[in-house]
Symmetry: C2
């Protein structure tokens, strides 16, 4: 039995302005008996915290002049949205990011503190220009002009900074990285997770950044691309432009869900062949494809790393009741090397207010459920419920979730989910 005492360790580095509040290596809580309680370990989320500034005119826009309208601020960034969604579903994700001491940074940090989340993994430094995405819309709600200033994530979220939290990562039930990270940081993060057999979720962020999968695919358990990111990742992983983007190939709108799956199947197979265990392809309002090798995968994290208290516990119990786990566990497993198993989870009807943040809430909802101890199929159903709540809210993440509504919606999704494909790819 390891004897770990909680103490304050000063991390010496001229790059670090704000020191972590405690040595993260020593993060697990020391019980009276001296036993480390792993259940207190939390998911680690590494990636961007971004201030989204959205300006919407109220009258016709004329280039060159200022149009009256509204300017609104939203807390954004893929990793931040995922973590916020998870925290609202009962987990306390450990965020590793970088912000400046400016307008945006203060806004992001204050919100994080007010949610009761740790900011010790967030590098705060005067020199950092807090990541900002500024969008001016036209009267139709389309982006008229948009600028993203997010280079701070690549510049300041270094392997060195991330390595301060190696201990926290080693106890985490799951690690999520978003592809805003630079390659060395992606690699370092994934290697730390691999050393403690912590599963890694890779969120591709954009078509351009999704190609960063090439440096970390061997460590990745889950990836959550949309159709375009999937094609880009498959091309990057197969070292050529084997797969054509959907718009050049087929118009997604004219395809049935089944046909769309068959168009995407070869690309999905590339990711699985490279060792990614579960590919969660988001297909917008058509839902999600959950794909793996061999046969049905009812992935769940070890029970000692799950938590059944509070909102998380309620979600676990309600979901276990409404959506029995281990679906298709009676289906025979095939040769893992040649068979593709794919399911379709439909999306839910929603009164759309703003679609931004939906994809991030899908990931956040799925990860929160995994951390609560649900299996991947139950978790994806919760993810789709969370995504529905996100499109019905103005902010990227809804202000609150209701266990009842989430579980009811998840039940609809879960019971409507179907096996699409279960055949050899050879």
């Amino acid at each position: 039995m390891e004897s770990i005492i909680r103490r304050r360790v000063q991390v010496l580095s001229h790059h670090i302005t704000v020191l972590p509040e405690a040595n993260p290596v020593l993060n697990p809580v020391l019980l009276r008996s001296g036993q480390v309680k792993h259940g207190d370990a939390e998911a680690v989320i590494i990636g961007g915290m971004v201030l989204d500034i959205h300006a919407t005119p109220s009258t016709l826009t004329n280039p060159g002049t200022t149009t009256p309208g509204k300017v609104r601020y939203f807390l954004g960034g893929v990793a931040r949205n995922v973590a916020e969604c998870m925290s609202k579903l009962g987990t306390k994700p450990y965020m590793i990011s970088a912000v400046g001491l400016d307008f945006g940074g203060n806004m992001l940090l204050e919100h994080w503190k007010s949610a009761g989340l740790s900011t010790e993994g967030i590098l705060k430094k005067k020199d950092i220009e807090t990541p900002v995405v500024c969008i001016v819309y036209d009267l139709n709600g389309e982006s008229a002009a948009a600028v993203a200033s997010v280079e701070a994530i690549e510049r300041y979220l270094t392997p060195e900074w991330i390595s301060h939290f190696k201990g926290t990562i080693s106890y985490a039930p799951v690690l999520m990285v978003d592809a805003n990270l630079n390659l060395p940081s992606l690699e370092a993060s994934c290697q730390m997770a691999a050393e403690s057999e912590c599963p890694v979720w890779f969120e591709p962020v954009s078509v351009a950044k999704s190609q960063r999968i090439t440096s970390v695919f061997k460590y990745v358990t889950f990836a959550s691309p949309n159709e375009d990111e999937l094609i880009a990742m498959a091309n990057a992983l197969s070292g050529g432009n084997v797969f054509l983007p959907l718009k050049h190939n087929h118009s997604k709108d004219n395809l049935s869900t089944v046909s769309l799956f068959h168009v995407l199947k070869p690309a999905i197979w590339v990711l699985l062949e490279k060792g990614i265990k579960l590919v969660v392809v988001t297909i917008g309002s058509d839902g999600v494809f959950l794909c793996c090798k061999g046969g049905p995968n009812c992935f769940r994290i070890p029970p000692e790393k799950t938590k059944h208290t509070g909102f998380s516990g309620q979600l676990y119990r309600t979901m276990m009741q409404k959506c029995p786990p281990n679906r298709y566990s009676d289906v025979s497993k095939h040769d893992r090397n040649s068979h593709l198993f794919a399911m379709h989870f439909p999306s839910l009807p929603a009164s759309v207010v703003r679609v931004t943040g939906a994809g991030d809430c899908l990931v956040g909802g799925t990860l929160a459920s995994i951390c609560a101890g649900l299996d991947i199929m139950q978790s994806v159903a919760v993810g789709i419920s969370a995504a529905k709540a996100a499109v019905e809210a103005e902010a990227n993440v809804p202000s609150a979730f209701s266990v009842g509504a989430i579980a009811d919606d998840a039940k609809s999704v879960y019971s409507a989910a179907r096996v699409l494909f279960h055949q050899s790819m050879v």
Copy 2:
């Protein structure tokens, strides 16, 4: 001799969240003898405090996608810029405005406090959305799309709020109002100034808002329109579209300064005929036209309302030495009702970084000089120097001014200033 004691009076109103720190009616400092020291009274500036968000792409912009670039925040708003410029030239303007308790509001207020300026005239309220102007530029530095959310100024800067500061206005050497104010607030402010014979400077803000002059022209001593605002004001004051905008009429770029003056002269005359004493027309990089009725006007405020201490005193003494006052005082005055007197003040060569804020610094520099006791011609020369410093800085107002540089530049302008017109308009 009035006996006024300084005490804290609670202003009762459910509209007011943050009470003024002291009853402004009792603002003038009580000397030991019980005599009010009017020299401590300061210029009052009423209008917008705005957060400017400027997004600049670093690569070619494609509509519909986000372009990498920079997002920067600037403290703005016409009235705020004027006041900040004045404070950096040695005065302590009393700002009356309204901001929210959000990040924009905090940023504006913190800067104001750090400059040692009073924030008691600034209404701070949770419901207020702090005015914001959000501009996305294209690669040429032109505005690609811009939205202004400034309705809080019209909504919250009410006659009721402004009336709390009637005492401060009554002792002010000058009052500046920007046309962001709604009509009742413009009228109320100007009436308060008129009651104590405090001269009023009207800053038109934009073509649309400049037309608000119609409700207050009879109280206005100074107006500072650009060419387009001048035309709009003249049309509004003459009750019809008598004057065509410059672009429909003449292309400004093809006109000599003298020809431009002759094109604008009838519109200028409308403003003077309506009773505005001094019209300061800003003509961009071509400088300024200073126009009045009758003959040379060497307007200056009463000596007891001026201040010759600190930066302000240095500016006064240096300017009095380099640019002797009362220029053209030997020129015979003509019938005030029929003669137009117009001077041209050239601008200064500058290494332009960003032109925003230049017009506001022209007004701020002129007003600070008037408050220091300089006459209007000396003051306009200082205003042009301040505007030059503004275009050479990134922010709307330069971080600091040097008395020497300002006075040297002002001397160049002052000595190059020429009488353009001195004839009857009948």
